[in-house]
Symmetry: C2
Subunit: 294 residues, 2 copies
């Protein structure tokens, strides 16, 4: 069943790998990185969600719920690994377009949709694995896209910023026990905002609003966005990511910079992110667990 | 220096007590409760903040920063205790109208304004105490305004609601270590929102928005607002409160009810709050620390 990799490749070639593409440009970055590493990517686009630019690569389009079509396309190409990447709105079960492959699994799927986001993802992963399709994290398939320890871009945080980063990281760690908290904004030892269901961008807009309403009693750039996955979060299914949009929102919230958990957060369009952070006078840095142990 | 209490009183009379009145109707409720308990209240209104209805009681108006005028008014009436109650916007130091009493303390005041909200309050309390004015909590002066254990209003939470309340209470407890978290919204074991600098009302508006955008994948009323003071928070200076406005915001967010830490959260206009909660189909309840120990 195995098949030689015929794609344009550099370096050692590996077996083909599928990418289930959510919204945005990041799935294409992963595809590019895989190509460079010699693994032919096969892109699965979700109608209404995925950027049509995926058509530059071997690809298939599926609708939400066309599980049978997806598995058939993978089997046909002898693909045994898939990366799931990019934002995907959680569909309502009733809105799914169930094909025969989905109908066979309908009871199981319906049950999944009664779970929280994380339960849904874990359940979907189990369905994939039972079909012999292993889910691979973007951080495993394309490790160059993961935040390293230390500065990304020209600026570095001050010792005060480092203290805010450490406080934010400890806060997120404490929230992990409640399956909450992928992000927080901390300024001079004060917790300004904590992310829950609204997401990072909405949290940053909130801080921007509080600033513009004069409700934070601070002048000039202040505060740090700290981002990390929840403890126990399956990074193959749901890995936090930052990118140029994050940088813009951090700038609008008049923060001093952002810090992400090294090795556990993806950076979308790293060069552009670094450039825009430099232009906005922001630092971007990866922090390690070790550096937080005091 | 002591003076007989000549006000209209019921029950045992006590020495006069001042109320430094923030915005809203709550200072008047405290005044009414004190009158009923036989303690003549003397109301201190802050120009631009306090409701003019305080003029129904013995009162004085001061501007933010008129510390000397405030202390003189209290001394004149031999008042040695003050309750600070109601919302007060944190002023900028530069906006204060400093009188001679404030100028004498200007260095100290300026330093306070470099602290966080809590530091500012603690510092102001120290200035009062040095003048011989003891700060008394509303919960001490008017304990009938504090949330009791158990339901307030006709409805009670389900066993599932009780689990959400317990989860929210443990979350707030964990956040206390970070001097954050007076409120959270929890639905079916999932943390939907966590309050930081934005305040409870803004957090509830956020949940209402997420609901109306269909981003929470729930139908019908879901979730509980849980409110408690931070551990170590000085309740004399900054005690959480709920009231009819909270009930309305909880209803708009399509929650099932709200739960507050008994003995540590004030209820503004309790009868009206209970009536509006009943009408909206919401439960309101006070939870105790003991009932959370599992």
């Amino acid at each position: 069943m195995s098949r030689a990799n015929g794609g344009p490749s550099a370096g050692a070639s590996g077996p083909p790998l599928a990418i289930l593409c959510g919204a945005g440009a990041f799935p294409l970055e992963v595809a590019k990185d895989l190509s460079l590493a010699g693994r032919e990517p096969f892109l699965v686009g979700v109608v209404g969600t995925t950027d049509s630019a995926i058509e530059a690569y071997p690809h298939v389009w599926v609708r939400m719920g066309e599980v049978g079509r997806l598995f058939a396309a993978l089997r046909q190409r002898a693909i045994a690994e898939i990366v799931i990447i990019g934002a995907m709105a959680r569909p309502e079960f009733a809105d799914l377009r169930l094909d025969w492959g989905a109908v066979k699994r309908a009871a199981e799927l319906a049950q999944l949709f009664r779970r929280g986001d994380n339960g849904l993802l874990v359940g979907l992963a189990a369905i994939f694995e039972r079909e012999g399709i292993r889910i691979v994290g973007a951080h495993e398939a394309a490790p160059r896209l993961v935040a390293p320890v230390g500065p990304i871009g020209a600026r570095v945080g001050s010792p005060e910023d480092e203290m805010d980063i450490a406080l934010g990281a400890r806060l997120l760690e404490a929230l992990s026990a409640f399956d909450a908290g992928q992000g927080a904004v901390v300024a001079a030892g004060r917790v300004l905002a904590i992310e829950a269901a609204e997401g990072t961008d909405a949290m940053l807009r909130r801080v921007a609003d509080l600033r513009s309403q004069g409700r934070l009693s601070v002048a000039g750039p202040a505060g740090v966005l700290v981002k990390a996955p929840k403890r126990g979060q399956d990074l193959r299914l749901d890995m936090p990511a930052i990118g140029p949009a994050t940088i813009q929102n951090v700038a609008r919230a008049q923060l001093r910079g952002l810090a992400v958990a090294a090795g556990r957060v993806l950076i979308v369009e790293r060069e552009r992110s670094a450039r825009e952070a430099d232009a906005a006078g922001l630092f971007v840095t990866g922090f390690s667990h070790v550096s937080l142990a005091q």
